[in-house]
């Protein structure tokens, strides 16, 4: 019998390699067959309690419920993005991308199924390399720079992953290289170092402050399809998966660590969304939101409350959906207008209605407007924090509440940012130069349409669809209690009742139906194109308010960018060392002697 678990990894690898030698048409056919076929093992996985793959007596892959959740998400999202890819890329990019695409899916599948340190390391590292390779396929001049930055941050954090895994092996020797079932208390320096290293690896992958700085740059310069697929979806899944494993299976963390993780999450939300507010480039704006949304997941998963934990995982799935949807919708627009610069667009909503509608739904979802899916997960996280705060001391309560306030306020800021996004691209006065723009092609709006339906569906049937079928089983398997709601919210009824009240109004309007179509009214002036505002400057008042002004200026100078700090330090050290290169033999001898003396002194 064929080992289906292996198929999830091997098949995409084979297809990827074969694709190297095929023309684009055959590549597409082969990939289509692959991604449709991959749904089959996933379907089978649902009905198996546990699937494992052993090699030479060592357990390599195993799919428990948490892995299953990730595997399901990876296959679904890669199929949807693939539909979009069928007709969107240029020929040059298409040929290479069709090779990278299945290979990326293979390594991501491998990473979430690995139960062996080595397998995890290899898959994790390879996924970073594909991120870099996709980053090189950008459309802008400085894309290699941002790809390099990505490689250094994400790849650099792999070193910490190695360190963490080795320390784990050292601390729990009897476990071998086996992963995920340790349950170690955070005591002793080594355990703490291991925890922090693994945490940083997860954070860098998912893009949590302060390791997030690659994400906005990468989003801006790389192909929109690549961003929609990798940093917006798969890397989030991987990073948060590791985080969830760390705080539930590998380590047992205390309240203080909970509070630290929550603070990191809350700060990530607010810092990134504040930056997103003032962006002028659509892709960069979405990139900052990709960072900000991870904050909610860290907040939920780090809080230690089961309700928030379930909410965090749910938010991960939601984010994968709507963030991919947003990038893809923007991608459709970018294809038609040739730009992702917000100052340069406007009023496309009528011409590109089929790109606008999914963007609207995804925007409302990400802003947490009921009854869409984003609200449900946020609602769970907020309740979880309240539940967590209930039994703490007064100081700790306040601390947790501040995190909650930042999260809720971050959601209002997200809303503001996305209303600006919608205004600058789709709404506002249409521009002359885009009067011949065509709507998104069939395959593109099919992909974004499926995502919109999923956003609505998982919002309305949240308890059934992701919670009871994917998330609760995973939590049960990890020995967690099932969450109990603090409040009440029935999305279906809320939606239904709003709709019920909406319908009589609509009927009344249609009955009266006394409509005239006319030009914009500007008090008698002709509505020429100069009477329009783009909307990118909507939040200048926020930007120019003290003390935010100083913070924004500092952020634009990359003061908070860990990467640029390290780069500058490395450059400075390099300069210092180059001073030693004098080109005179006697000095080199001197350095050797000094070096030898230092060595001897150390070995003494």
């Amino acid at each position: 019998m064929i080992d289906y678990i292996l198929l999830l990894v091997l098949l995409p690898v084979i297809v990827g390699i074969v694709n190297l030698f095929l023309p684009v048409v055959l590549q597409k056919i082969l990939n289509s067959a692959l991604f449709i076929f991959l749904l089959y093992p996933v379907y089978l996985l649902f009905y198996q309690s546990q699937w494992t793959f052993e090699w030479m007596g060592i357990l390599i892959f195993s799919v428990d419920k948490l892995s299953l959740m990730m595997v399901v998400s990876i296959q679904i999202i890669s199929l949807i993005v693939y539909i979009f890819l069928l007709k969107s890329l240029t020929r040059v990019h298409e040929k290479i991308f069709m090779v990278y695409y299945p290979l990326t899916v293979a390594v991501c599948n491998a990473a979430v199924m690995s139960v062996n340190s080595w397998a995890l390391l290899i898959a994790w590292g390879l996924s970073g390399i594909f991120l870099f390779l996709v980053g090189l396929m950008g459309t802008q001049e400085n894309n290699s720079e941002s790809a390099k930055k990505t490689m250094l941050i994400v790849g650099g954090s792999d070193v910490l992953l190695i360190l963490g895994l080795v320390l784990l092996r050292f601390l729990e020797y009897s476990n071998g290289w086996q992963l995920w079932k340790i349950g170690m208390p955070l005591e002793g320096e080594l355990a703490r170092v291991a925890f922090v290293s693994l945490l940083i690896a997860a954070f860098a992958k998912a893009g949590v402050f302060p390791f997030h700085t690659w994400m906005p740059d990468y989003s801006k310069t790389t192909l929109t399809e690549g961003v929609a697929f990798l940093p917006a979806a798969l890397d989030k899944l991987l990073g948060i998966y590791l985080l969830a494993r760390l705080v539930t299976s590998v380590f047992v963390i205390g309240i203080r660590m909970n509070l630290i993780l929550m603070s990191i999450g809350a700060f990530t939300i607010i810092a990134a969304v504040m930056m997103a507010l003032i962006q002028h480039n659509g892709k960069k704006l979405l990139g900052y939101h990709a960072v900000s949304q991870v904050g909610y997941m860290v907040l939920g998963i780090g809080s230690g409350s089961v309700l928030a934990f379930a909410g965090g995982l749910f938010h991960l799935l939601n984010n994968v959906l709507y963030k991919t949807g947003l990038f893809l919708s923007l991608g459709s627009v970018e294809k038609q207008t040739g730009t992702a610069d917000l100052d340069d667009m406007g009023g496309l909503g009528n011409k590109m209605f089929l790109a606008f509608l999914p963007a609207l739904i995804a925007s409302l979802s990400i802003s947490g407007i009921p009854p869409f899916n984003g609200f449900f997960s946020k609602w769970m996280i907020y309740q979880g924090i309240l539940e967590f705060a209930k039994d703490l001391t007064a100081g700790q309560q306040l601390w947790a509440l501040v995190c909650l306030i930042l999260a809720v306020f971050g959601s209002a800021l997200t809303l503001a940012s996305f209303l600006k996004f919608l205004h600058t691209i789709f709404l506002g006065k249409p521009r002359e130069k885009y009067k011949d723009v065509k709507d998104a092609p069939f395959n593109q709006w099919l992909a974004t349409g499926i995502i919109s339906l999923l956003c609505v569906g998982t919002g309305l049937f949240a308890v059934k669809m992701p919670l009871e079928s994917l998330i609760y089983p995973a939590m049960k398997e990890m020995g967690m209690a099932l969450p109990v709601w603090l409040g009440t919210y029935s999305p279906l009824l809320v939606f239904g009742l709003i709709l019920l009240a909406f319908i009589p109004g609509m009927v009344l309007f249609l009955l009266i139906k006394n409509i005239r179509y006319d030009e914009i009214y500007l008090g008698g002036m002709e509505a020429v194109e100069k009477f329009r505002i783009s909307g990118t400057g909507w939040y200048n008042e926020v930007r120019n308010m003290r003390p935010l002004k100083g913070i924004y200026t500092a952020a634009e100078l990359k003061i908070f960018d860990l990467y640029s700090w390290l780069k500058n330090i490395a450059k400075g050290l390099g300069k210092l060392l180059s001073l030693l290169h004098m080109g005179q033999l006697q000095f080199y001898n001197l350095w050797i002697i000094i070096g030898a003396m230092v060595l001897f002194w150390m070995m003494k």
Binding site: G368, A412, L497, N544
Partner: protein, 308 residues
């Protein structure tokens, strides 16, 4: 069950109740405002007349606008407000939940602004765009404070988020009886003022400056619905504050008088603030909310955590 829900939503305490009461309270507002300015003011049924007259007028739609959004926005806002009113009313009059808690309510209250903005900017009118930008900025301002305001009763009721649980928690003493409650009410009142776009926070609609901002292109029945929405808010939003700080209604004997007084106190305060303050500039409004009111509300929250 379905019939019950329909009755609650459309008759009492939902649409019919809040619409009629709202239009009447709207008259009180107009009358009192007129007296402030030494005018006579309109007759009692003026708001009803306005509404029905607008229903009969022609709707003018901008040719290049996103028409579906333009038409749906006021109606969706109307639906949302009906639901908000029902949720609050059910808690107050029947001590029952209605498919949502305070967190849901907070987010539903944002939906109104979202619809106002989306409806406005779907037309492409430059005044609407400016007004919409201001509306969102104002939302950012008041939302931060409103979160803090909502957290005060949550903490005081022992971390309950259901509206009816909050009312039950106040059965042996309203939250307004504590220092944190007073602070919360003051901050909450100003938030509501901003959410309803009443002076000094009528920045987004600023008739004399940007000609009603997001509402500029609306006419006929759609405008009628926006006006109706505004009147529904006159009932629903003050009642939210009643739930949060004044406990429920005891509709027996003298309790009815108390119930009316609780509500009227808030409405009268709102009308007084409205008529004695000039319109703020948007950056000053943001500064007011973020620098003055948010720290104040945060002090209230600290006191609530400490049990004061």
């Amino acid at each position: 069950m379905i019939l019950d829900n329909l009755f609650y939503l459309f008759v009492f305490p939902g649409f019919l109740f809040v619409a009629v009461l709202g239009l009447l309270v709207g008259w009180v507002d107009r009358k009192v405002s007129a007296r402030f300015q030494f005018r006579v003011g309109p007759p009692v049924l003026q708001n009803f007349n306005d509404f029905f007259k607008l229903l009969g007028k022609q709707t003018i739609i901008v040719k290049d606008s996103v028409k579906s959004l333009f038409i749906a926005a006021p109606l969706l806002a109307f639906g949302t407000l009906c639901l908000i009113a029902t949720m609050v009313g059910m808690a107050l009059f029947f001590e029952q939940g209605f498919h949502g808690d305070l967190l849901v309510l907070m987010y539903l209250m944002m939906v109104y602004s979202v619809m106002l903005v989306l409806g406005g900017i779907s037309t492409g009118n430059v005044y609407s765009s400016i007004g919409a930008g201001r509306e969102i900025k104002l939302l950012l301002g008041d939302e931060l404070v409103f979160i803090l305001v909502c957290l005060i009763p949550i903490v005081k009721s022992g971390y309950a988020v259901n509206l009816e649980a909050m009312i039950i928690a106040q059965s042996d003493g309203m939250f307004i009886g504590s220092v944190s409650g007073v602070i919360g009410l003051i901050a909450g009142l100003l938030c509501i003022q901003a959410k309803m776009a009443l002076r000094p926070f009528d920045i987004a609609e600023a008739e004399t400056e940007i000609v009603e901002g997001p509402l500029m292109e609306y006419s006929g029945p759609l405008l009628a619905f926006w006006k109706l929405n505004h009147h529904i808010m006159y009932v629903a939003y003050p009642l939210v504050l009643v739930v949060l700080f004044f406990g429920g209604f005891n509709l027996q004997g003298i309790g009815i008088l108390w119930a009316v007084l609780k509500y009227l106190l808030i409405v009268v305060l709102m009308i007084i603030i409205k008529n004695t303050n000039p319109r703020l500039q948007i950056d000053n409004a943001l500064k007011f909310f973020w620098r003055v009111l948010a720290p104040l509300a945060f002090i209230g929250l600290i006191l609530a955590v400490l049990g004061v």
